[in-house]
Symmetry: C2
Subunit: 334 residues, 2 copies
């Protein structure tokens, strides 16, 4: 399409310039308008290509491309939506009054495909991108550090100089264990997920800080089955079984509560159990319903939304990791 | 901003025309280009406003606005994502090879806000919109019937002349009950959700067709608690309890299976149980894991994606409701 120079000025479109320069339309536009963030090399290449193709930007096109778009892109690899959809609800809630819409774009762990989707968001002239994921200690499979729009990270790992929002799992876990202590529990164990997760380490460390030398941590899968198995182990040994159990997530907690009931151990009279995630579908259906730590993902989304808007409006936002407080939601298990 | 006519042609942008005419940028563009679908009244109004404002479209802007955008909008009110995210995965899967990205935009049940989001999708020049929801028998709170881009409905109700994709719940339910019959079950009951749901009626009718006069249908909530309660009722009466149970969804089935185990009734030896939805988090965690009907939402998404692309490319697609087959996924409960 751009293999031979187009002679008529009107016929050369910014799409052609972008394609020939190997950049997105948004980047091409910003290069020609001397705005946006990119290397000078890229800016010069775009200008040279534009000149070669006889492209002449006009004010109307500049108007079209430079205008605020009132759209925020939300990029995630959490295809199941467990973490990203509550977050998206918060972003929407924060921005809808300003007429800003949020578009969710899901990527698999394939860098080339991820790039296609990021380019699509940029071509749509989103005012900013919020990157999210299914683990706080993993990066998305695409580099977002040199985009022509601001990027904020929420519930995923960003580069060192990024603005990142995560939940304060340390505080949430501490409050959960302190709650068990305040209920008179004296032998509190922690049944949690695989040690390789940063969130597992943070939650375990907070638990350790509260219970001290007595700390007893059992790692396994993020599943109900592991909750059953852990109870079987704890109640079959010679040791006195625990009277308080802090679980790494709600699925483990549900398995624990079911296993205790089947052993004739009453929750919360004999043993108090607290979960993590406050995942309604699991926590509310457990018998008795689970007391659980809520990561306030909606609030995380709200903050990320307001911040991306501030950045899009040219305001300064200091880089760094912001940890937002979790909340202990009391039901009946502990 | 458009309160006084702008004299300089270059200063009037299509955004100004759209705002003054009370239409989206996409509609304004299509009106001026004599393309798209809209009433002649709207088209004329846009042209008049454009003339008043001294707007003169140029080929570059037409190029920008007329070009295929390689983006599909997915609009849903299923904010939890239970049905829409598997569908979105299917849409993405079908279109990613063609370089098409899918943007999900969630709306609450507020018509004014829904309109803001639809306008945002149109302003982004999506090639088409797939409308989806959380119930097949409910419409989204926004009229999509006169948009300048094609619209396909999937897992939500569309207008009479629309292209709509839903799962064939009749076939799925029939196969589930026939499976129970083939396992030698002679007294099969149906425990399901509220009668007001169209899906409940379709599934119940299919069940009735297979079991005939013996049909016994129990309506309640879509919850585990209702599964427990239904079992308590069925096993406390004077009648012989059932040996097969077809449940309206997996949550009910999980409650049924748990309640049976707690009564000492063995699943599937004494009673076979089949669920509906094949919701992994529920079906796989049940003990024993649930045999369940899968609505193939991913496949529904694939078909909707390919169809919206065909429409965007100007191909003819006959209107009507397409029912795609469900699949019985065998685990151990039945």
């Amino acid at each position: 399409m751009v293999s031979e120079p187009v002679k008529t000025i009107e016929r050369t479109r910014i799409y052609d310039v972008a394609a020939a320069a190997g950049v997105s339309v948004a980047t091409a536009s910003r290069a020609l308008n001397d705005t946006g963030r990119m290397t000078e090399q890229t800016r010069e290449r775009v200008k040279q290509v534009a000149a070669q193709l006889g492209f002449r930007p006009n004010t109307m096109a500049r108007g079209l491309l430079g205008k605020r778009s009132f759209t925020i892109g939300l990029l995630t690899n959490d295809t199941y939506g467990r973490f990203t959809l509550p977050l998206m609800a918060g972003v929407s809630e924060a921005l809808v009054d300003r007429g800003v819409s949020v578009f969710l774009c899901t990527i698999e762990d394939d860098a080339a495909l991820a790039k296609v989707h990021v380019d699509a968001l940029l071509d749509k002239q989103v005012d900013g991108i919020i990157a999210s994921g299914r683990r706080v200690d993993r990066r998305l499979p695409v580099d977002l550090s040199n985009l022509p729009v601001p990027v904020v990270y929420a519930f995923t790992e960003g580069p060192d100089d990024s603005v990142t929002f995560i939940s304060d799992d340390e505080q949430g876990s501490r409050e959960a264990v302190q709650w068990l202590v305040s209920r008179g529990r004296r032998r509190i164990v922690h049944i949690t997920g695989p040690e390789s997760f940063a969130s597992v380490q943070v939650r375990a460390q907070a638990y350790r800080t509260v219970v001290g030398e007595q700390a007893e941590i059992h790692h396994g899968e993020w599943s109900e089955a592991w909750g059953h198995e852990a109870v079987a182990r704890l109640w079959s040994g010679a040791d006195t079984p625990p009277d308080g159990i802090f679980c790494g997530n709600d699925q483990i907690a549900r398995g624990v509560v079911d296993a205790l009931r089947e052993r004739g151990v009453t929750v919360p009279d004999d043993v108090s159990v607290v979960g993590f995630d406050n995942w309604e579908i699991v926590a509310a259906a457990t018998r008795p319903p689970l007391t659980s730590v809520d990561m306030n993902l909606r609030e995380l989304g709200r903050e990320a939304g307001l911040t991306i808007l501030a950045l899009a409006e040219g305001k300064e936002v200091a880089p760094g990791i912001r940890r937002l407080p979790c909340q202990l939601v009391l039901r009946q298990s502990g």
